[in-house]
Symmetry: C2
Subunit: 429 residues, 2 copies
């Protein structure tokens, strides 16, 4: 049995949904379909979810979202008409949703209606059953999935029957609709794949797989044919986007493979994410900007046990939680997202750290970027990458090699990110 998830662009219009329908019906193992909210139909179009967030803002000002919600409704009505469905029932459902939004059911309820309506409508198109995830996915206060969700799903799904299911949300333990982070339909698909013991989790999107480098940057970047859970997780962590990294956790233990496919070019091989691979290849390179480096040093810094933990605790008071860290003999560099601390907060944090821990030096260096080279790190390609960066006159501020079996991290200046990706791609791929 295959669980397949279709992203926003795949369900944006009648034309797109016809492709989706063809894909689904071409393999009878595709029994569970998760859908996102309709995305953009054209470049300057607005995603349904963004319209819904707009509705939410209006309602929070104690006004009715009626006018904006009309645009939401139009999207679904148009699709229904495209499939020659009777729109009377749909209109009643739309009215009910609008009423609930106006009645103040809250941000998560409102934001999740794009998926809800998408799944409701597409279940009509296919003549399949609809299942509301608010009834079966319980989301903990920290955003993780409560384990009992898997049982609830198993009990709700009748074997042999086929379902269309909304992505992106579940409910709190007391039944209030609660969403995952944006792009969370990938997580919903993973939860169903795990709960139902799927043989494959298909993730249909608008690109032909995960690219070895951002194709906006490297025009001829190749699609990665196969990579591991770990590799996709670490590639995501350093900025590559295609598959939601939190969607790996639910199926990690069950080792269900994930197939990324392109709805618009279903004949393309796509990318297969597997538990283990024997490939010794490099997988990809990705990076992201927006970090600051907090550098501290003190003679015999680590003679005092617990010093680094105490410093981290202090940093958290200032709202700073580092994404990456390198520990030297008498010094540390922590990379954190610059948005976590304004210049004045960063300064106050430095002053406090310096005083409290009697540090010799504390500085915050803004405008840092991280680049991750992902693949089998027993190769020495990371050395080629370093040589290539030097040749391109790019300053390397830090290198972390060997902590991970799949990723080498390079830290550089923001402005050098694109040239760095280019240099590494050229040298290593």
């Amino acid at each position: 049995m295959i669980v397949c998830k279709f992203g926003g662009s795949s369900v944006a219009s009648t034309a797109q949904l016809k492709k989706v329908k063809d894909i689904i019906l071409s393999d009878e193992n595709r029994q569970i379909v998760i859908v996102s909210a309709p995305g953009k139909c054209f470049k300057d179009d607005v995603k349904v979810t963004d319209l819904l967030y707009e509705c939410n803002s209006i309602v929070q000002k104690n006004l009715s979202c009626r006018e904006v919600f009309k645009k939401v409704a139009e999207r679904y009505v148009e699709i229904a008409k495209g499939f020659k469905l009777d729109v009377k029932e749909l209109n009643a459902v739309l009215d009910g949703v609008r009423f609930n939004i106006d009645a103040g059911r809250g941000t998560d309820y409102t934001a999740s209606r794009g998926e809800y309506l998408s799944a409701y409508l597409f279940s009509q198109v296919l003549g399949w059953s609809f299942l509301d995830t608010a009834d079966v996915i319980i989301i903990n206060p920290d955003g993780t999935v409560a384990p009992e969700s898997y049982d609830l799903i198993k009990r709700a799904i009748i074997p042999g029957k086929k379902y269309v299911i909304p992505g992106f949300y579940g409910a709190t333990s007391n039944g209030q609709v609660k969403t995952f982070s944006r792009g969370g339909s990938d997580i919903t698909g993973a939860i169903f794949a795990r709960a139902l013991g799927a043989t494959l989790y298909e993730n249909w999107t608008d690109v032909s797989g995960i690219y070895a480098a951002d194709p906006r940057l490297i025009s001829n970047a190749r699609v990665i044919p196969e990579l591991t859970y770990k590799q996709v997780r670490e590639l995501s962590d350093v900025g590559a986007s295609v598959f939601h990294e939190e969607a790996i956790a639910p199926i990690y233990e069950r080792q269900i493979p994930i197939q990324i496919k392109n709805t618009n070019q279903p004949e393309d091989k796509g990318t297969l994410i597997v538990p283990e691979t024997s490939s010794k290849d490099l997988i990809g390179v990705s990076g992201k900007t927006g970090f600051s480096a907090l550098r501290v040093s003190k003679l015999m810094l680590f003679k005092k046990y617990g010093a680094r933990h105490a410093m981290l605790t202090m940093m958290h008071i200032f709202g700073v939680r580092p994404s990456y860290s390198l520990y030297g003999i008498d010094s540390i560099v922590w990379y954190f997202e610059s948005k976590m601390a304004s210049i004045s907060v960063a300064k106050a944090m430095c002053d406090r750290l310096k005083k409290e821990f009697e540090l010799d030096e504390v500085t915050v260096v803004p405008d840092q970027a991280v680049v991750g080279l992902v693949g089998d790190m027993t190769s020495t390609s990371y050395i080629d990458a370093a040589v290539a960066l030097r040749k391109a006159n790019i300053d390397i501020n830090s290198i972390n090699y060997g902590a991970s079996e799949v990723t080498t991290l390079f830290f550089i200046n923001d402005k050098d990110l694109n040239p760095a990706i280019n240099a590494i791609y050229e040298a290593c791929f």
Copy 2:
């Protein structure tokens, strides 16, 4: 005013002490002299301190150390005779010391008598004053120097008067003799230099300075003319020995320069350790073996705040305190001294970590070595070093670059340490 410290080989015999005397008298600014215990006079000779530890073992078995102590006494008597001193008083002092050792004054008292007698005797040779450091240096239970020591020293030293002072020990706050770690006479010198505001701290030894690489390995290794406190501290941390790293702390704040000189070749320029340098040069490369790598990984490892601290706490229960650490996206590698945990303890620790933190993987890899390349790290020589290691077919297990402004750390297999130092020295120096 110059504080000068003479190491064990410099005070091992009459011949050596004559060189020391010439050095001291050639500059009247040399007013405070710290001495170690006599070292070896020839290759298979025994250091006085080792003889004293032997005395201590004997006394702990409730026997008299008389026979072994005779060998200690002979060393001093011989020196006294070499300087044509009356040995009657010396013999009385030696008898007193032996009596106290036999009376059970303890390990630290016993071990420190080499320096005590050395300073006593050499003060007679020079006709200078003797000052017992047990009266002026207070050592805290954790081995650090109590701040009041600096005042005690200032009050004990009469300006203009010249002193010979024993290295290596002080006393606890209730007056019991307590030693520093082995080689701790360097620390004593640093404490006096700081307390008295010396313009220079001279450290006289049997080599012509700090070498850029171990001269037993690189026969033509050059002497480092100048380096910073930080650089010498980090070079020491990765195995280079010449100057005791804990001796930097006392004079770090006062920024007193340290001159390493060779008693046997006083005309050699030696090595100058300074607070700051404008030099952009590489300084040296050093390494040490005997580490194990503890590798852990878990998907989304750091989503839970405090995970790494909790793991470190658990490791400490098993007696493991890592010397070096690298944190990846979902994985960590900690390098710890292998002697901290037997194979069975390491296994038990892995099992416990795996269970407690639900880790995906936990392994301990033995036989690891660290290599530090020290110098101004804004240069890119560390890339040349990596390339050289690859060319020499040496596997690099981890690289930590950028955490420190002065050191890049390479982690390799034990067996590759010497070839690695060779390859790096050849490529970078």
